[in-house]
């Protein structure tokens, strides 16, 4: 259940055109060039984004103001990997923490739930998020496989505890079967067992810190926010 927008994210060439009014594309700050006139029109970086997310915010704002974003594939920069797991956790915590504020600035409806079973959900495809208008309390859930399976696992535990063994078994089987189905569809199939282990461990750590950061940051913004994760 995805809502694809007509242009694809990260396609070389133009990304957001004026007629695609609210489609926000996103470039990370590591390799980003901005015209000074853009700042003159939409203002400087939002200083509320202290640790992360300021790039996503400025990209969204400038695309909404009608500037084109252009992805130049050849302009390569090499970025060093994080020094330690703690760094990585801190980083993804910050993404989650500021994600709530980012979506709050743009979210239109009071409650939005997005279900995506992609391996890597691309938030910027969901154009409905990027519309202006404000409501006081918000719920914004990106139900990826990570958060959905945790939710189901929690439900299974509760029903087991309450005595509904069959339902618990059913839910547990659902988690396992969907995991296998997803694995068979995803590019992870090509990896060796060792590589798969590395990948899964790290993405679990990342997703978990992102989720926690999103919950904490979202509470600060008076919203229930479950981030899209990796």
């Amino acid at each position: 259940m995805m809502i694809p927008v007509l242009t694809d994210y990260y396609e070389p060439g133009y990304l957001a055109r004026p007629e695609y009014e609210t489609l926000a594309a996103f470039f990370p700050n590591g390799n980003l060039s901005i015209r000074k006139e853009v700042f003159a029109e939409i203002g400087l970086y939002d200083e509320a984004f202290n640790k992360a997310g300021e790039d996503a915010d400025i990209c969204r704002r400038s695309a909404t103001a009608g500037w084109d974003l252009y992805y130049e594939q050849g302009a390569v920069c090499y970025h060093e990997a994080r020094r330690s797991i703690l760094d990585l956790v801190r980083q993804w915590w910050a993404y989650g923490y500021h994600g709530g504020h980012f979506f709050q600035k743009a979210q239109k409806h009071r409650c939005e739930i997005f279900i995506s079973l992609e391996a890597r959900p691309r938030v910027y495809r969901y154009s409905r998020l990027f519309k202006t208008g404000k409501t006081p309390f918000r719920i914004l859930l990106f139900l990826t496989y990570f958060s959905l399976s945790h939710l189901l696992f929690f439900l299974a535990l509760m029903s087991f505890w309450a005595g509904f063994r069959w339902i618990a078994l059913f839910l547990g089987a659902g988690i396992v079967v969907s995991a296998i189905l997803l694995y068979l569809r995803s590019p992870l199939k090509k990896l060796s067992l060792r590589q798969l282990l590395i990948y899964e461990t790290m993405s679990y750590i990342i997703n978990f810190s992102h989720l926690l950061g999103g919950l904490v940051g979202g509470l600060k913004q008076r919203m229930l926010y479950i981030g899209p994760g990796l």
Partner: protein
Amino acid sequence: MPFYGAFIFKTVFVRTMGKTIKSLLIAIAVRLQFPPFLWLFRWVYHLAIKVSILSIRRIPGVKAIYLSGSLARGDVIYGLSDIDFKIFVHGRRDKSILEAIQDRFALLRKIFPMLGPPDEKGVYFQDDFVTDYHRYPLIQHLFDRWFYQHQRLWGEAAMDPLPLLPLRGVEAHLSYLWRLKCWLEIVMTLNDSPALTEIQKRYLFYKAIGDLSLIYVRLQDPDGSNGGRERALSQMEPYANPEERGCLTQLLKERRLYFRKQIIPLEASYSLFRNFMERCCERLEACDEGPSSSLNTPSLWKGSFQIEGGSNEKDRIKGLCPPDVEILVVPWPHLPLNPLDCKYFGTPTYLIVSKRPFRLEEINRLKRVYRSGMIHQATVLIKDNPHYLYSPFSEQMDHWLSTGISDELTFRLFEAQTTQPMPSLQTERIKERLNIYLSQVEEMMGKEDLYRIDRKIYMQFLFTLVRSLALYRSLLAGRVDFPLKDAEEVASYLKENTPLTHSFIERLQDEYLAVTGSRRPFCEAFFKKTKVFAETFLEVAKTHPSLEGLAWLNRMEDLQTLSISVVIITRSRCVQLTRCLASLLRLDRPPDELIVVDNASRDATREMVQNYQAPFPVRYAYVPEVGYSTARNAGVRIARGEVITFIDDDATVEPEWLTLIENAFLRDPRIGMVGGSIHNMKSDRKDLVYRYFDLVGRM
């Protein structure tokens, strides 16, 4: 599981995504031109229009409902046909009636998302309209019966008793000519525009043919069954030639085929169309009737405006609906708007590039026009305009730049080599360009029929003059950040050598108007003055090459260079930063300045940056508050380049990195941001994090 599936589908999918799916379906249907969908939507569109007529005529006070465009069955195609309502109301402006109409439309648009936005613009209160009619050429033209077809759908005849002024012969002629020329330009640019999708290209192209055929029909119809026709026009027969008529017929046939989804090769049609249009333009020009007395001649400058909070924001389907407002800006403020040059169709914003600085008074005038009864909320966002000399944004920007360093922020600034001159290459290019202009002016002065000069070159030249005046003014006001000594010198130099005053530039404008507008005999003195001015600037470019001044000159001359400031945010990462700076030295195109923003480092970053030897200016700023965006803002505030490039302190770049970024920006003035790809840096590390990143990079 099926139970859960149905439940989830009902609660989540249908409730939250129903709208999107609906609009997506519509978009797909329109884009694919799939016949059953097309018939369905055509039918729904018909129904929508009829229902809206029914509901609006019940509002007390509404006198008549008109429709522009055709309601014939074949013409109503959802997303592709322009149908505007025009509603006449008794008496003076009454907010309650207006709101009632808007409410009806808003309600109807929930059911029929295809109902367009123009209803708010198309409500006319009869008394106001009659009194204001002569003042607003916009209204005058919208009701020009000789160009648009208005069908009365309901009510008494409201148009006929109005004191409508007919288009005079010459004006009508010019507007046809202008329209043809405009389409010609657009279709020529279609060939090499990488940004338009195929479907948009086709759409524009067939739209052009439709417009052409409209003009054709008007010209072919001497009895005036379309609402009348001028005598002057009846005398010339641009399409009388059977060859040309055959050409047009074939184009129209292609258009019909297109709408039946039998798509024909486009290249051949382009050339056919171009030939035909060119011939039409020649013919029309050949039967020119002399100078126009009115100032309603079509202007060469175009701009597109988006009114914020427009009504169609909610249900706009991507790429298919027109912008809220799209108008041409007339170059000089005392000229009226010419709304005939508006193009309310699919995606016109793309084709209109305005390089002219807007003035504040002009923007205010636009707002006034729109407030006069067309649109009620008039926040004007300027797009397509890379020059902010006169726009209100420039002052805001200047304010940020001037006060940001001293008052708002408390970081200390250390400049290593700021007074270094720019690379001589750019200076050379500027000189070349100016020399070309000078020679062109000399050529022009030699000619006898000066009003037939190449308009494009002449416009460029005039832009140079007006912008250099702006430079001069901002120099005097101390707004441009020249090195102080240079600024004084340049200002005094300009003062001595050119007669630059406000009245002088106004006279320039008037004379230019005389040339392009009414074709009076051209003043040679004007060219002489402009030549003197250009020579002065050549001198300035030779003697005072500095960063800011060259940035201004670059803009003036549309030179293919940009000044780029590279900004690096760092915090206690001296080793990585050294590596990053070393990679910057290997760039093919060195940055015009490098700014290292130190975000409260606790190691030897400052000393490292001070000892860094580079062929470009390096500046160091210290920001005591920790925070990414704070540091970035500090970097933006002190950067002087036209483009600000951010790079992380723990990254390295390829040698062609900055060249590619510059080229990307030069593709289009409306590209505001350019992003590059980020790869994982190879190293010997064996830890889990590195392995993970390596794995993801290879996947």
